[in-house]
Amino acid sequence: MTLLEVERLQASYGQVRALHGIDLSVEPGEVVVLMGANGAGKTTTLRALCQMPGLTVSGSVRFDGRSLSGVRTEHLAGLGMAHVPQGRGTFPELTVEENLQAGAYVRRDRAGIRSDMERWYDTFPRLSDRRAQVAGTLSGGEQQMLAVARACLSRPQLLLLDEPSLGLAPLVIHQLFEIFAELNRTDGTALLVVEQNASLALSIATRAYVIESGEIVLSGPASDLQADDGVRRAYLGF
């Protein structure tokens, strides 16, 4: 069964329509990349999937066999969809530890939460060193690690990643993408990644979509898009 099935997704900010009918799908355990230029509607697509405040959304979104129409944003984490927003969206006044606890807000199994937290501290030792530090004082890379770990603490089936590489050093970016691939391999977590750094994203992806002016213009297996001349010139830069 398809994990995420999106049909004719439209979204507007007030009177301004940003998405004109997006169709896309994510299978369980898949890594899907959404590519596109600035302002094409990548972030809006992810925000529309989560019914974020400020957006008027129409169209059909089915997740894990159920329709998400009328489902409120705060219920998605419990259903198994987690979202790492653009700009990380950590809780700056809360400590690293509290950020992770908030990530597990929808869970009640204390022991499981504890062991998951330790797992992510092992994955990101820099977070472990800063458990009691408030998140606002972390570096950009550390904040992104925290945002990813926080989202994963809800044990999602699908993780939405919005520009995870934005503003980070190349070394940190590579480390993060290795961890995404690892998460996908070991936990079977499906990923829907919006990414400027298209070649990097395609390297871990199974399929990809290209979005232009609020519409999907191209889709296919990641390897096909990597080989496509138009895509290479427009998004891969060679």
Binding site: E74, G78, P85, G89, E93, L94
Partner: protein, 322 residues
């Protein structure tokens, strides 16, 4: 012939009595008692401001209704205070949460200044309800703590005498207990974590599954409970009660919140105490400032502090990492 020589300590414009220890101590204790009430008021302002970014101007009037309920049940009908005050606080909390849900939330969704108008409207409505039901004449005050004239501990025998009233100690302890409980609720419970997460980043809070709307209701409920408690204590410390009980207290509370920093809970407590002390001490120190000007003095201190630290004493200056 030369009065200046006869009183070498006297400075122009300074009240001589201020150099008497027991007089100053008496002023200090009065200031601390009022300051505790202002601190509770400031706390209720801050708790709503942190999650929503707006102020509830009706907070004082909502507290006044709570206090008048206690009056009707306990002063008029003799029900013990330990029943009536917790009950009034509980009712206030429910009403506060319902107001947030039914009136504030729909207006808030439309954005803009609507919520300010709603709370100003609530101010007028509650003030009118108070005067319609309980009249405009002074009523017998609410006195949960021992309040006979000799219910005090004499520390310095006079004249002038310095004594600490049991009721003042009761007010201070109440503030301490409230701050402790609030701290435990916010720092040690799942609910408190949710509230703080919404205050820190509302969108992210939704994404991790925290019901933001319910946290906003929680904020209004807590604030309404604190407002009623503040009104009861203010009636006790001033020995007065009428439909306008909290009209000036909400101003002092807002001032205290501004002084401490609108987003800081410790700031609200310290701000409240400082405003209470300034109000008590400054007009007494300068002989040319009448007690009518005490509010002005308190506000003047705040203006000076905010000129130096616009975010208040404990507020966070927003640092944005790009």
């Amino acid at each position: 012939m030369f009065p200046m020589l006869a009183l070498p300590l006297a400075l122009p414009g300074v009240n001589d009595a201020f150099f008497n220890a027991s007089y100053v101590l008496q002023l200090l204790t009065n200031g601390l008692s009022n300051g505790a009430v202002y601190a509770l008021m400031a706390l209720s302002v801050v708790i709503i401001y942190r999650t929503t970014g707006h102020m509830n101007f009706a907070q004082g009037e909502m507290g006044t209704i709570g206090c008048l309920l206690v009056f009707s049940v306990s002063v008029s009908h003799g029900v013990p205070y330990w029943i009536s005050i917790p009950a009034a606080i509980a009712i206030s909390m429910i009403v506060g949460a319902l107001l947030q849900r039914t009136l504030v939330q729909p207006v808030e969704r439309r954005g803009g200044m609507g919520v300010i108008l709603v709370t100003l409207g609530l101010f007028l409505i509650f003030n009118s309800i108070d005067s319609v039901i309980w009249g405009t004449d002074p009523l017998q005050p609410v006195r949960p703590f021992p309040s006979r004239p000799d219910d005090h501990l004499v520390v310095m025998h006079g004249p002038p005498q310095f004594a600490i009233r049991y009721s003042a100690v009761g007010v201070w302890i109440t503030l301490g207990v409230v701050v402790l409980l609030l701290h435990l609720l916010l720092q040690r419970t799942r609910l408190g974590l949710g509230y703080r997460a919404v205050a820190a980043n509302a969108d992210s809070a939704l994404l991790v599954g925290i019901p933001k709307d319910r946290m906003l209701m929680l904020g209004w409920a807590l604030a309404a409970g604190l407002g009623t408690l503040a009104a009861v204590l203010f009636s006790q410390t001033t020995g007065s009660l009428d439909f306008n009980l909290m009209a000036s207290v909400i101003l002092y509370g807002l001032a205290a919140a501004a002084l401490g920093g609108f987003d800081s809970i410790p700031g609200a407590v310290v701000g409240g105490v400082v405003v209470g002390l300034v109000e008590a001490l400054v007009p007494a120190f300068f002989s040319f400032i009448g007690s009518e000007l005490s509010l002005v003095m308190a506000l003047l201190v705040i203006v000076v502090v905010l000129l130096v630290r616009p975010q208040g004493m404990f507020g966070k200056a927003r640092v944005v990492r790009v």
